[in-house]
């Protein structure tokens, strides 16, 4: 049996215990108040960092071999994303702000600083994460005739595509909709869609939130109608942009893409001249310069008449650049 020689317990006076408890309360309150109001940033800083992380997440979303891809981001707390678009400087930009639900009473916090991105993000001006706390991205390559940009559609709602044209259905099915978590379902009737989903109807009317009227079987161009007044012309990859974005965001981003197409046309015209000196005569110079001129004059208000002309010129160049027609290809 072991006997303890020293049986003294730790003696602590009431003053000590009281002081420690009060001190702890003071410091916890101080940290909370400082975190909330004094430390530069606080929640503002957290929201700004999150916006920056989202802008960074767009960079590796670019397509290379694949024509279309999807991805999603999961947030820790409920989040609101504010998107805007401008035509500043040479290529314009998208800007993002974040607000999160935070604190004991789960209030929406003040928006963080707005972060710029040179990507082409098509979204509603304000989107809010749902129960799954996810933001979804659908990325489609925009080619006219060479790769010009990636149309990134960003959304949080569940979408239900009804009566989808075969070409669109095929490319969406290739994404493995369920496994990749695109939050898009393909149905044959509006009645089969989930109640809370945004119903997108192709070439049909009915109880739909968005109506897509295709001009051809493959739905390469046509109109997207939202509500009573909003009607937008689209071409190729822009169909997704038109479905998932607001009118202002769509028009601004289309203008930005045309600016990029203009710059790229000039670059390819210079490349054609440059490689002709190395024995690679493409004979495409005049066509590319014509494309550059068309895009430089692009006016979004005349999208219905101007975009088809640009598309036709792009198709002419694409045809001439095919391996069977050109030994030394330009792109």
């Amino acid at each position: 049996m072991v006997k303890l020689d020293n049986k003294k317990a730790l003696e602590m006076s009431f003053a000590w215990i009281f002081a420690i408890i009060v001190g702890a309360i003071i410091i916890i309150s101080a940290i909370y108040i400082a975190g909330k109001f004094i430390i530069p940033g606080g929640q503002y800083r957290v929201n700004t960092e999150t916006a920056k992380q989202i802008a960074n997440a767009f960079e590796p979303l670019q397509t290379s071999v694949e024509e279309i891809k999807s991805d999603s981001l999961i947030f820790i707390s409920e989040t609101k994303l504010y998107t805007s678009c401008n035509l500043n400087e040479e290529f314009g930009e998208n800007r993002f702000e974040i607000s999160e639900r935070s604190g004991f009473n789960k209030q929406w916090t003040e928006r963080g600083g707005d972060i710029a991105s040179k990507n082409y993000v098509f979204a509603e001006e304000e989107i809010e994460t749902k129960e799954d706390k996810r933001v979804y991205f659908l990325v489609k390559q925009f080619k006219m005739p060479f790769k010009t940009a990636d149309v990134i559609s960003m959304y949080t709602n569940k979408y239900c595509f009804v009566n989808t044209p075969e070409s669109i259905e095929e490319e969406l099915n290739a994404l493995n909709l369920k496994e990749n978590g695109t939050n898009i379902e393909l149905k044959t009737a509006v009645s089969s869609c989930d109640e809370d989903s945004v119903k997108v109807c192709f070439n049909s009317q009915g109880n739909c939130d968005v109506i897509v009227s295709c001009n051809d079987f493959e739905c390469n161009n046509g109109y997207v109608k939202k509500g009573s007044n909003y009607k937008e012309y689209f071409s190729k990859a822009l169909v997704y942009g038109a479905i998932f974005s607001s009118k202002e965001d769509y028009e601004c981003n289309v203008e930005r893409i045309m600016k990029r197409l203009n710059a790229l046309s000039e670059l390819y015209a210079d490349k054609a001249t440059f490689i002709s000196g190395k024995g690679c005569n493409t004979g495409l110079n005049a066509d590319i310069v014509a494309l550059a001129q068309l895009t430089s004059k692009f006016n979004i208000k005349k999208i219905e008449s101007e975009l088809p002309v640009i598309e036709a010129q792009a198709m002419t160049i694409e045809e001439k650049n095919k391996p069977e027609n050109l030994v030394c290809q330009l792109f």
Binding site: A19, Q53, Q62, A149, A263, F274
Partner: protein
């Protein structure tokens, strides 16, 4: 009477002791708070730098498949001819939001020394600098550097192994 005075004095002493303790504990925790502020504020700069590096890493992937650099739609292949044309196009610097791009040919080894590509010596060179004079940058990726080349049989595509480096924006790097 005497007993009560002694008890009061002991009580006063205890109150004094407690007050001193409260002040001491408050001062101690204030120091902890100051330390926390310092760490927290220092962390802002670090977070900003981390985010910039994260951006640059994504940027390298993006650049390799960007329409301005990609070689005839081939993944991870950079068009050296387009790069030579791009050298003078400052507007693309704003598009990518980087300080510069450096592409160094690494295989097959061509020169012992570093020879910067200019219109006058292209393609007999091994480093292409776009919008920068630096020779090296921290964020890199391996790519195929391709160009049009001609010989007696005609024109063909020639690709070499290269390293693509992105020079971050200087102000943000600091």
């Amino acid at each position: 009477m005497n007993k009560m005075t002694v008890k009061n004095k002991i009580g006063q002493l205890k109150i004094q002791q407690m007050a001193f303790m409260l002040v001491a504990v408050f001062l101690f925790f204030s120091l902890v708070l100051l330390f926390y502020f310092k760490i927290s504020l220092g962390d802002v700069g670090k977070t900003a730098r981390d985010l910039e590096i994260q951006k640059a890493e994504g940027m390298v992937e993006k650049l390799a498949s960007s329409p301005e650099l990609i070689f005839e739609g081939r993944p991870n292949s950079i068009d050296a001819d387009k790069l030579m044309v791009l050298k003078s196009e400052r507007k693309f610097k704003e598009l990518w939001d980087v300080n510069g791009i450096i592409i160094r040919k690494i295989y097959p080894p061509s020169f012992e020394k570093e020879v910067e590509c200019k219109i006058s010596n292209y393609p007999d060179c091994n480093i292409i600098k776009v919008f920068t004079d630096k020779n090296i940058a921290p964020v890199k990726a391996y790519v195929a550097l391709c160009r049009k080349q001609s010989n007696e049989n005609g024109v063909y595509d020639k690709c070499e192994l290269a390293v693509l480096m992105v020079d971050l924006n200087e102000e943000e790097e600091k």
